[in-house]
């Protein structure tokens, strides 16, 4: 039962994966990518948590021993910003596709390309 939160996080990732694989609207696919990315970031922070821990910031009145793991937090901080950049690039490509083909439906784009 110690892994229940990990399994819930996995369920969130599976929803994003289903959205990427099944939906035909490009915006929906981008939404699926965003949701999977959230789930991965959340898994890192969940692994880093420590029982009755406190945030990794020094203060003179508290002991060092009980801090949560700082390394995954630093990695996730980088990952979130990269996620924003990739999402902006995906949306720019989607808007160019809309300007050219006047649709977000990927099956129709495939037909037009012949």
């Amino acid at each position: 039962m110690t892994h229940t939160l990990y399994i819930l996080c996995l369920a969130l990732f599976c929803i994003g994966l289903y959205c990427i694989l099944r939906k035909r609207n490009i915006i929906k696919i981008i939404i699926g990518v965003i949701i999977s990315e959230y789930a991965v970031n959340l898994l890192f922070i969940l692994v880093a948590y420590r029982m009755q821990g406190r945030s990794p910031i020094y203060s003179p009145d508290a002991a060092i021993e009980n801090m949560v793991d700082a390394l995954p937090q630093a990695v996730v901080l980088t990952s979130i910003v990269i996620g924003l950049a990739t999402t902006a690039l995906l949306i720019a490509i989607a808007m160019r596709i809309y300007e050219k083909y006047k649709t977000f439906d990927i099956t129709k784009i495939n037909e037009l390309r012949g």
Binding site: H3, T4, L5, Y6, I7, L8, C9, L10, A11, L12, I15, G16, L17, Y18, C19, L21, R22, N25, I27, K28, I31, I35, Y38, L42, I45, V47, A48, Y49, R50, M51, G53, S55, P56, I57, Y58, S59, I64, M67, V68, D69, A70, L71, Q73, A74, V76, L77, T78, I80, V81, L84, A85, A88, L89, I91, A92, A94, M95, D105, T107, K108
Partner: protein, 181 residues
């Protein structure tokens, strides 16, 4: 612990709503709810820096998504190989879940991290870098090259977005096509 379960269930419900709604704008707003729930979860998990970054990034992401979907709502096409597509998607998810079930037993139990590397950072971070915030000392001192790589990716993505969105080069190409015809 209970608030973590509630937040995760809220996020899962929000994600299902975002995936299944037909209206694109409502779907984007549901993604925003999921992201803000994630930000609150980070605060509960004692990661304030990550929570602040998530909040800012979420709002920016929402603005870009709304800008791209506004007035472009389209009906969904549900025809075609509905059954085959669903079966392929579900089989992929099944394979993923099988691998994840094998792998999740190797993770440390929730609340008891390994902290082989981070214990060094926590003990010596203040003496070596002089930063009271350990996360800042990791991203700006111990792993500064990582942050440099992040900045490189960010600028590459910005160049890509500008090349895709700018209008000056595109008009010329349209005129050339028109003159050729």
């Amino acid at each position: 612990m209970l608030e973590l379960y509630l937040l995760l269930i809220f996020m899962i419900v929000g994600a299902i709503v975002a995936v299944e709604l037909k209206d694109l704008l409502s779907s984007v707003i549901a993604v925003g709810a999921v992201g803000l729930g994630l930000s609150i979860t980070f605060i509960v998990l004692k990661a304030p820096d990550v929570a602040i970054t998530q909040l800012v990034v979420e709002i920016l992401c929402l603005i870009i998504l709304i800008r791209s979907t506004l007035k472009r709502d389209l009906p969904f096409s549900t025809s075609g190989r509905w059954f085959l597509n669903t079966m392929i998607a579900l089989s992929f998810i099944g394979i993923f879940l099988f691998v994840a079930y094998k792998a999740i037993g190797d993770l440390p139990p929730f609340g008891y991290p390994i902290m082989k590397v981070a214990s060094t950072y926590l003990k010596q971070g203040l003496a070596q870098t002089g930063a009271t915030n350990i996360v800042a000392s990791v991203i700006l001192d111990y792993r500064a090259y990582d942050t440099l790589g992040e900045a490189t990716i960010l600028f590459t993505a910005v160049i890509g977005v500008l090349a895709l969105v700018r209008r000056i080069g595109r008009k010329k190409s349209v005129e050339q096509e028109g003159s050729d015809e």
